[in-house]
Amino acid sequence: MIKLDSLSKHFGKTVVLDSIDLTIEKGEIVVIIGPSGTGKSTLLRCLNFLEQPTAGTMTVGDLTVDVKKASRAEILSMRRRTAFVFQNYALFANKTALQNIAERLLVVDKWPKEKAYRRAREILDQIGLGEKADAYPASMSGGQQQRVGIGRAMAAGAEVILFDEPTSSLDPEWVEEVLGLMKQLASERQTMMVVTHEMSFARDVADRVIFIDGGRIVEQGPPSEIFYNPQDPRTKDFLKKILATNSV
C-alpha cells in the first residue's frame, strides 16, 4: 500500500506539488493525467526520491518516512521499494540488456551472480527479448530499450512501479509493444502509477484515473467517470483538448 500525507514540493518559491493526499491499494493500477508542468512527473520522482520532497510523509509498504527528516538509509530503502521507468529509457549504456536487469539484484540486493543472472534471463524471456541478452542499449530500438527499462523495474520486486511518460519518447511504431507489456504487468496485478498521455491505455487498463492540475489532485475516479462524466471544468477542458488528438 502507498500513502501520501500532505506531500509538497517547492522549487524555490514555485509550488509544484501542493499538499497531496493519496492512498493506493496493493495491486491497483493508477493513471495520472493532466497538463504539462503541473507536477505529475514530480510526484513520481518524489516517491523515488529523485526529488527531495519539501514536506509531508510517504508510506510505501511498511516504511513510513517524514520527508523532512529522511535519513540516507530511509531514502535508499524508499528507492528500493519503488521502481522507476524513465521517459528516455535511461538504460545503463555500458551494460548489456541482461546486465541492465541483473544490476540491481547483484549490487543492491547482493544476490549471488548465478541466481541474479538466472532471474534476469527469466525476465528477459517474459518481456520477449530473450535473444537480446547480450545486446547493448545503443544497438536496440526505442521500443526494445523501454521494454528492458521495464524489465529492470520488474527485477526490483518493488511495491510499485512508477512509469514516467514511458511512451512519450518512442516512435509511434514502438508504442504498442511497450503498452502491451504494461498491460501484461497490469493483468498480473503489479501495483503501478503511470503518468501518460495515452488516454486509451488509461481507459482500458486503469482502476483509477487521477487528474492533476496546478500541483493538486483536481478530480479522481474510475476511467468511466473521469472520461465520460468529468465534474470539474478544468478536467473537461483538458480532456476536450487532448481527446481532439487522441481517440478514446
Binding site: 549504456a93 555500458n94 544490476e103 526490483a156
Partner: protein
Amino acid sequence: MDVLNVEYMLGLVPVLLRYLPLTLQLAGIGMVLALILACLFAVIRVLRIPVLNQLTIVFISFFRGTPLLVQLFLFYYGLPQLVSALTVIDGITATTMGLTMHFSAYMAESIRAAIVGVDRSQTEAALSIGMTNGQMMRRIVLPQATRVALPTLMNYFIDMIKATSLAFTLGVTELMGATQKEASGSFLYFEAFIVAAIMYWIVVELLSKLQNHLEIRLNKAYNR
C-alpha cells in the same frame, strides 16, 4: 668526420636498452599511482566533499602551476631537509613522487570533466534502483567516463614517459642519464641522442597502438 657513425649507433642500442626498463618502470608506476590519485581527486571534486575539496583544489593548482623540474628538486633536495627521517631520498623515489603528483593534477581535471559529461539519466537510473553514491560511481559513472577520458589520459601517459628523462638531473641513470654518460665518453653526442630519441619514439608508438585497441574495446557498447 661529417657522416653519422652508424657503427657506433648500432653498438649503442644494446647498451642503452639495458636502461629502458628503468624508464618504463618510472613511467609505469608513476602512471598507476597518478591514476589512482587522479580518480580520487576527481570524485572528491565532483561530489564536492567538504574540506577535501578545498585541499584538492589547492593541490591541483600548485602541481599544475609549477614546473615539473622544480617539483622534482623540491622532493629530492627539499624533503630530506623538511622531514628528518628522510635523511636521504633516492632519485628514483623522488622522480616517482614528482611524476605521480604532477600528472595526477592534470589527469584529475580530465577525469572530472569526463565524469561531469556522463548523462544525468545514467546517474538518476542508478539512484532509482537504490544504488549508493559509491556503487553508482564504480559501476556506472567511472566506466563510462573512462571511455571519454582515455585519449587524454593516454596523452598524459606519453608525456610522462618523456618526462622521466628529467630523472637524470637527480642522478638517476635511466635512458636519458645513460645516453648522457655514453655521449660524454665518446663525444658522439648527435649519434647518442638520436639513438635515445628513436627509442622513446618507438615506445610511444607502441603505446599509441595499445590506445587504439583499448578505444575499440571500450567503444564496443556504443556501436549501433
